[in-house]
């Protein structure tokens, strides 16, 4: 009873809170990093160096008036943000923060498949939200979102398959263990796959330069144009939670999860003084920083160019990578 | 006209004597419904503390006189158009370095077509289309076309004198650039431009009545009265109310 119900529930409670708090601070981090990139200071008023802004923002969003447009489809309009957020949080059930069972809620043997399928549900939130708003800009945005997410999903999944070929397991813990045993992060074994997953991940989380469904300067905010208050903040939470998920996948698949850098080099063994979950979270934030950095640097793709990139470049490369991996696997 | 007194009065009362034909001539000249006529002088006089010294309306300004070229030789563009479209050029004028030809409205399109195509003129760029309003004149509007040639690098102004109802052929077919410019001329002056592909108001709202750039368009409407002195505005309303013609008075004040 204690082992099967109470402990997992406790873990879930801690994890959910941790993720939501992380998201609020991620928003602050994004604002700060972009501000520094743009020779500004960013939020400075709430608390020392604006740290408490991370708390002020959610409070503001919760207290704001929650408006449902008169012509909107009320039920779907409410359902959409929930559908967007829940999958983003559910995914964390299989993300291992460390080697032993204390650090993850569950280690199912189809962990990767679980992540891929659950994150795909998230796009329904965006599509339904845009549709239910009964407004033209959100409609255009939801059309963009459905096309974009489906095409990039193919590329990303295809690429992940080549990693699975190397490890022979779908369990996330297993994948990290494989890197420990091999003594080499998969980033060096599968560099092409790393690039594909990262680019595809940018597109799947609607981040710059692929932030077309919410392109502010074109579609005035895209699918969440008509949303306000708490429902808007659910979309917001979902987007940032998805960013964390993608970073976590990249770290687990290619950067050794909770492992310290170069576990096989004895000279670097002292790096093990940090607990594994610190390494894991540190690496995740490193990638989140890259996400933000890219947003501050690059212009936005156009819709047709984005689709062209997905179908004409990423998917062929993904297939090629898969074939080459297969051949090498059989040959050696 | 005594310029000195006029300029003095302008310095004292900032907007009072700005447009004599408009401010003073209008209420006397326009036939009006009795209620509106009663409201109008009150509205016009109230915001100014002292009544204007000049009781009789100032005689409207004479149409501006183009200084003729003093024996200077005409530029090639002008002679070309005089030869090419004979009889269309009514007058040639020159002032501070700019040449202007004045053509009849009926021949406008011929002249323009010639100016665009002829090798000596080759005006391929329509810089500007605008107008000026000279109310007492019989043909009260000047429609002015500023042309430029990007290849020969010279300018010429073409001017047409028309009345309110006279049709002016659109030059959009020659220069697509004239599209919006002609729309603006129509919008601001109410000049009857014909054969324009898409003649709508451009700067003013579509349901606007009246043409703001005409000299007899009032400078003050109910909006200004309301802002400057709400009491006056209310009084005007009351007078109009008593006459039982609120809507009419409003329309009159606004439109003119």
């Amino acid at each position: 009873m204690l082992e099967t119900v109470v402990v997992p529930l406790l873990k879930i409670a801690v994890l959910l809170n941790a993720v939501l708090v992380a998201v609020t601070f991620l928003v602050l981090m994004e604002r700060k990093v972009i501000a520094w990139a743009q020779s500004r200071l960013g939020p400075m008023r709430v608390g020392p160096y604006g740290i408490l802004q991370a708390i002020a923002d959610p409070i503001k969003l919760i207290l704001k008036e929650d408006i449902t447009p008169a012509k909107a489809d009320k039920y779907v309009f409410t359902l959409a943000p929930i559908m967007s957020l829940v999958p983003a949080l559910v995914v964390f059930a299989v993300v291992p923060f460390g080697p032993d069972p204390l650090y993850y809620v569950s280690d199912i043997n189809v962990g990767l498949l679980f992540i891929i399928s659950v994150t795909s549900i998230g796009v329904y939130g965006i599509i339904l939200g845009g549709w239910a708003s009964n407004s033209k800009y959100p409609l255009l945005a939801s059309l963009r979102a459905s096309a974009q997410l489906i095409s990039y999903e193919i590329a990303v999944t295809m690429t992940l398959v080549s990693v699975i070929l190397t490890t022979g397991t779908l369990s996330l813990v297993g994948i990290v263990e494989a890197q420990r045993e091999g003594g080499l992060w998969f980033a060096f074994v599968q560099p092409v796959a790393l690039m594909l997953v990262f680019i595809g991940g940018l597109a799947e989380t609607n981040r710059a330069p692929f932030d077309l469904p919410e392109a502010e300067t074109e579609l005035t905010g895209g699918f969440h144009t008509e949303y306000s208050g708490m429902r808007f903040s659910l979309f917001f939470l979902a987007e940032y939670a998805n960013m964390i998920v993608i970073s976590a996948i990249v770290v687990i698949m290619f950067f050794g999860g909770w492992l310290a850098p170069f576990p096989n080099v004895p000279a670097l063994a002292f790096l093990g003084f940090l607990p594994p979950w610190v390494w894991f979270i540190g690496k995740i934030f490193l990638f989140l920083y890259v996400f933000i950095w890219i947003r501050a640097t690059l212009p936005r793709y156009r819709y047709d160019q984005l689709m062209g990139l997905g179908w004409k470049v990423l998917i062929p490369i993904a297939i090629g990578n898969l074939v080459v991996t297969g051949i090498l696997k059989v040959a050696f | 006209m005594a310029d000195e007194t006029k300029s003095q009065s302008q310095e004292s009362g900032q907007g009072g004597a700005d447009t004599p034909p408009d401010a003073s001539a209008r209420p006397a000249a326009d036939p009006k419904k009795p209620a509106a006529a009663a409201a109008k002088p009150a509205a016009a006089a109230k915001p100014r503390p002292k009544p204007k010294p000049k009781a009789p309306p100032e005689p409207p300004k004479a149409p501006e006189d183009q200084a003729p070229p003093e024996g200077a030789e005409l530029p090639a563009t002008v002679t070309a158009v005089q030869d090419g479209v004979s009889g269309a050029v009514q007058q040639v004028s020159f002032w501070v370095g700019d040449w202007t030809i004045i053509v009849s409205a009926e021949r406008l399109l011929d002249v323009m077509r010639f100016l665009k195509a002829d090798a000596a003129t080759l005006f391929d760029y329509c810089s500007d289309v605008t107008a000026a309003d000279w109310p007492p004149r019989e043909k009260r509007f000047d429609v002015v076309y500023c042309l430029y040639s990007t290849r020969l690098r010279h300018r010429l102004r073409v001017k047409v004198r028309v009345d309110e109802k006279d049709p002016v052929e659109s030059v959009t077919a020659l220069w697509p650039a004239a599209d919006w410019l002609e729309r603006e001329v129509y919008d601001q002056f109410g000049i009857n431009i014909v054969n324009h592909p898409d003649l709508r108001r451009i700067l003013m709202p579509e349901q606007w009545q009246g043409y703001p750039q005409r000299k007899d368009y009032p400078l003050e409407g109910p909006g200004e009265l309301l802002m400057e002195s709400p009491q006056d505005w209310l009084r005007v309303r009351n007078i109009a109310d008593e006459a039982g013609a609120v809507a009419d008075a409003d329309a009159e004040i606004e439109i003119e």
Binding site: A37, Q38, S39, K136, Y137, L140, R144, A208, P209, D211, L212, A215, E216, T217, E218, L219, T220, A296, T297, L298, P299, Y301, R302, Y303, D304, Q305 | K6, S7, Q10, D18, T19, K61, E64, D65, Q66, W95, G97, D98, D124, Y125, S127, D128, T130, A132, D133, V144, C146, R157, W175, P176, A177, W180, I202, L203, M204, P205, P212, Q213, Y217, L219
Partner: protein
């Protein structure tokens, strides 16, 4: 003809066009422009601009203000290049009255106009890049624009609406040390330009978004009345500073950058080059600044003789023309007309966007560089 054409397949759908209103409240219409777009999917098949949301009747207003007061009104048209508007108006009146402007004043006017061109282009660059999604450039460009505004503040006390010129010259001479500051700003700006170009010029996404977008040929551009960088982007060597020199431009050495393809990227490159040419002109003007008076002989009461004239200058947006009629009797112009470059360039938007995607519409609004205060007046 009553029979419908037989459908080729049963899965054929009836499709409808989608009409969307871009603006007047939209983040990338640069003010209160409203573009009514007719879309087929995301492709624009027709566009119509609705303007006039901030029409303040500046022309009518000016006909009822005296000649000096109007300078202040011209500030309010193209408010990101107010000094250029002042310059155009003052020169037109000087032309009407045949006033000789002293050489020092002409040089200083050139400096102010070119500083203004840099400020205006900074704003264009920032917003254009922002529309396409590169938001950091906006902040960088605004940072440098602040330096120009500081220079103007030191010169005339205002940061946006300068009222910086007078008929016949300038109201004030430059404060001591101002010319040094201008020169050091030139140096700084050159370095910053390289920063901007590093972020954009060879950026693959930027190239994809701007190359071959909104292509317009020379003939068509002339016909549509485009002016300024959009016209030069199509390869038409038309720059009023060269063609009809005013102020001190006839004594300056500078090039007129021209495009070859007439697309958005060419217009971008042209404006980037114009930054450099402006810096070059400012250097020449400040270094060769002659001594002397700054006001010409102007009668106490400005009352030009009866007559009319059209005078145009090269504003950062294009040909800024003033058509002014004086009746010779009153102390205000009888007819005051502005030929706003943004207005004429905006006219070309319909031609530019047709056939492109929604995302290109914002890029194209950015590339023609409009200021709605000037379009609507």
């Amino acid at each position: 003809m009553t029979l419908e054409a037989p459908r080729t397949s049963t899965t054929q759908f009836d499709t409808d066009e989608l009409v969307i209103n871009m603006g007047p409240q939209h983040p990338s219409t640069h003010g209160v422009l409203r573009v009514v777009l007719k879309l087929d999917g995301e492709r624009v098949i027709d566009a119509d601009c609705v303007i006039g949301y901030i029409h303040r009747g500046i022309e009518k207003l000016s006909e009822n203000r005296d000649w000096t007061q109007i300078i202040l009104l011209t500030d309010r048209m193209d408010y990101v290049a107010a000094a250029t508007n002042n310059l155009g108006y003052c020169q037109t009146v000087e032309k009407l009255m045949q006033i000789e402007v002293p050489r020092r004043a002409r040089y200083l006017r050139t400096v102010l106009a070119e500083l203004q061109r840099i400020a205006s282009h900074c704003l264009w660059l920032g917003t254009h890049a922002m529309d396409i999604g590169a938001m950091t450039v906006l902040l960088y460009a605004f940072r440098e624009r602040e330096f120009v505004l500081d220079l103007f503040e030191e010169f005339c006390g205002a940061r946006l609406t300068y009222n910086a010129m007078r008929i016949g010259g300038l109201p004030l001479d430059i404060p001591p040390g101002w010319d040094k500051k201008v020169l050091s700003f030139c140096e700084l700006m050159e370095g910053k330009l390289n920063d901007y170009e590093m972020l954009l010029t060879n950026n693959r996404i930027w190239l994809k978004r701007t190359r071959d977008v909104g292509v317009i040929g020379a003939e068509e551009a002339i016909g549509l009345g485009l002016c300024g960088p959009p016209l030069r982007g199509s390869g038409v060597p038309r720059d009023l500073r060269k063609d009809e020199p005013y102020a001190a431009y006839d004594e300056m050495e500078f090039n007129v950058p021209l495009g070859t393809r007439g697309d958005t990227y060419d217009r971008y490159l042209i404006r980037m080059d114009e930054f450099r040419e402006s810096i070059r002109i400012i250097r020449q003007a400040v270094e060769g600044l002659p001594e002397g008076p700054i006001m010409g002989k102007v009668p106490r009461l400005i009352k030009p003789p009866a007559g009319e004239t059209y005078h145009a200058i090269e504003s950062p947006k294009g040909e800024l023309g003033y058509f002014i009629v004086s009746d010779g009797k009153s102390t205000n112009p009888y007819r005051f007309r502005v030929r706003p470059p943004s207005f004429c360039n905006l006219q070309g938007l319909k031609r530019l966007v047709t056939g492109h995607l929604v995302a290109d519409v914002v890029a194209l609004i950015g590339t023609i560089d409009i200021v709605l205060g000037e379009v609507d007046r």
